[in-house]
């Protein structure tokens, strides 16, 4: 892979939690490169450090050692405000439990995201996005009044709004039935192909990972294998 194609790179990441003697070493010198426009799945058993990796790559946690590079720039050493700016400008998150803000309607969840990203309300774009995801009507309601599938679609729409170049998805199908799982994967594939968004998806389900361009496998805080 050429250097210029790399949008996300992890070099020698270490991350531990807790204090000795109960200190847990979750990431153990992890290296990873993700090419621009790639759809990458990260698989591995529970507790292998997948979610921690996503948090570190998404700049929500700082590594103890090692570096994270996004778009050719080392970002893991940035201060809190600058890391927030990188998240705002370049990264969209999709979580397993959707994480919509319960007091806002689906529409307002997306509008809030756009405002934080400094992209204004983008009413027409939001409506078009929700329309294309088939939840234009449901998104007028609050999350508690939507079905699980609708919530997940709105959560995806929120992550896609503003078209961040990097989508980080943490077990995005974990709470969905098989029909909704397939719908979600189609949405991710659409974002990847139609919007040229790079996707890094954490999953422990092989059939979900199979939708990606490349699968890397984690064990004990390291990448132990990959399938193209």
């Amino acid at each position: 892979m050429e250097e210029s194609e790399c949008i996300l790179e992890a070099r020698g990441l270490h991350k531990s939690f807790g204090r000795p003697p109960a200190r847990e070493h979750v990431l153990r010198g992890l290296d990873l490169r993700v090419a621009r426009g790639e759809f990458l799945a990260v698989m591995g058993p529970s507790g292998c450090g997948k979610s921690t990796l996503l948090h570190v790559l998404g700049l929500m946690a700082a590594p103890d050692e090692g570096q994270v590079w996004i778009g050719g720039r080392e970002v893991s050493g940035l201060g809190e405000a600058d890391r927030a700016r990188v998240r705002r400008e370049r990264i969209g998150f999709i979580f397993q439990r959707f994480n919509l803000i319960s007091v806002l309607s689906g529409y307002d969840n997306i509008r809030l995201s756009l405002r934080i990203r400094g992209a204004g309300d983008g009413d027409e774009a939001v409506a078009a996005l929700l329309e294309s995801l088939g939840v234009a009507a449901a998104a007028r309601r609050k999350p508690a009044q939507m079905s699980i599938g609708q919530q997940q679609r709105v959560a995806v729409a929120r992550a896609l709004a503003g078209t961040p170049e990097l989508l980080l998805a943490d077990e995005p199908t974990g709470s969905l039935d098989s029909a909704n799982q397939q719908g979600l994967l189609e949405m991710l594939r659409w974002a990847n192909t139609a919007k040229q968004q790079t996707i890094l998806m954490i999953t422990h389900a092989a059939h979900v990972a199979a939708e990606a361009d490349r699968i890397v496998t984690m064990r004990d805080g390291r990448i132990v294998g990959q399938d193209a």
Partner: protein, 403 residues
């Protein structure tokens, strides 16, 4: 789009409503009690300032306690001396109005009742005229009759006895009340008022704003006080070309008397009752602190309940400043609603107090309304500091996975 702080408030209507109500009660209490304590005193000061005079002359030993004290009285010689005071051949005072002050219970409350000569009554009234009826003892007949009785030759051990009936028949038991007392006690011209062991007849109604709420003939006040010919103090008007300091020096030159400008009465009153403001302000402060602690607890609870949502905001790229602004904004909305409610509440509260206690004045001033709003804003920001601090310290990775 509905702003997030407002959405949070509307989502928790009861909790938010109770917080705002707490602030509303505190602000209403601040505005109303400040208006009550200061308003009643200001109203007394306003009434005294209508008196057509420049100085109050009283016995030196009275000090500045002009409203309620009767520690000393002035005899006829002192009154005459003040009247005839001269400075460089110029009369110091153009005129003096002797008054005799009683504290009598009328319509369930003690009032200052001033005895004044019928001819001087107009100088103690707002606008100088009565609103209805007439002046008491208009021809001074009672005063002359009483003077005659008092000056008639008598044996050394003879006790001058004047019955209430005689006082009444001679016009000594006539009274002028102001319209506020008339309204509160349902008095009109011709009504009877039982006070100080006698039954007075209301003969005139003065416009609200007269120096005191009830006036009687000076001779009656002196007789019932057991001090014929003596007075409590004098209202004195400066002679042409005489300035206040010179007049005060002239009065104080008598050694037994002192004088204070009528314009200083308000300050004296505020000094005299200033301790009351300390109590009222302390009570208000405590109430406000409790109210804002309530807001703090509400916000703190909200932040604790919303750690995952705060983490979501952070994951979307929201800065700590943005999160801090959301919490502060929520607090300010709550306290602003509370302040607005409190100010709105203070008007019916004032009306209620004045209905229950007709002689109290609750002056809701723009100054105290502004103070209430400022206190609410400052309190709102202060109450949000700790919850906001907690909010920005949320561990995003931990909170994002909270159930």
């Amino acid at each position: 789009m509905i702003p997030l702080p407002l959405a949070n408030i509307l989502h928790h209507k009861v909790r938010s409503g109770l917080s705002a109500l707490g602030v509303a009660i505190a602000v209403a209490m601040l505005v109303t009690l400040a208006g009550l304590s200061r308003g009643s005193l200001q109203e007394v000061a306003d009434r005294w300032e209508v008196v057509d005079a420049d100085l109050i002359v009283r016995p030196a030993q009275v000090g500045e306690n002009l409203v309620t004290a009767r520690q000393g009285l002035m005899g006829p010689r002192e009154v005459e001396r003040v009247t005839e005071l001269a400075d460089g051949g110029v009369r110091v005072f153009d005129s003096v109005v002797p008054v005799y002050v009683h504290r009598w219970r009328i319509a369930g409350q003690e009032h200052n009742v001033v005895g004044v000569a019928p001819g001087h009554l107009g100088r103690l009234l707002s606008g100088g005229k009565l609103q209805a009826g007439r002046v008491f003892d208009p021809r001074n007949a009672f005063a002359d009759w009483l003077e005659g009785r008092l000056s008639a030759p008598a044996d050394d051990d003879e006790v001058i006895d004047i019955t209430p009936e005689e006082l009444g028949e001679r016009g000594g038991l006539e009274m002028v009340v102001d319209s506020r007392l008339a309204r509160a006690a349902a008095l009109a011209v011709g009504s009877k008022v039982r006070t100080a062991g006698h039954t007075f007849t209301v003969v005139g109604i003065a416009r609200e704003g007269a120096m005191v709420r009830a006036f009687v003939p000076l001779a009656t006040a002196q007789w019932l006080g057991g001090d014929p010919h003596r007075v409590t103090f004098l209202f004195a008007s400066l002679g042409r070309g005489v300035d206040e300091p010179a007049a005060i020096r002239a009065v104080e030159g008598t050694r037994r008397l002192s004088a204070v400008p009528l314009g200083r009465f308000r300050a004296i009153l505020m000094d005299q009752f200033g301790i009351m403001f300390v109590y009222v302000d302390a009570a208000n402060t405590i109430t406000l602190i409790v109210a804002f602690l309530f807001v703090l607890v509400t916000l703190y609870t909200a932040v604790i309940q919303r750690t995952r949502e705060i983490a979501i905001l952070r994951s979307m790229g929201a800065t700590r400043r943005f999160v801090l602004a959301q919490v502060t904004c929520e607090s300010l909305i709550l306290t602003a609603c509370g302040a607005a409610g409190g100010i709105a509440l203070s008007f019916p509260a004032a009306a209620l107090i004045e209905a229950a206690r007709p002689f109290l004045t609750v002056a809701i001033s723009a100054g105290w309304i502004v103070t209430g709003v400022c206190v609410a804003v400052i309190g709102g920001v202060a109450a949000s500091v700790y919850p906001a601090w907690c909010a920005i310290r949320v561990d995003v990775c931990e909170a994002i996975n909270l159930e």
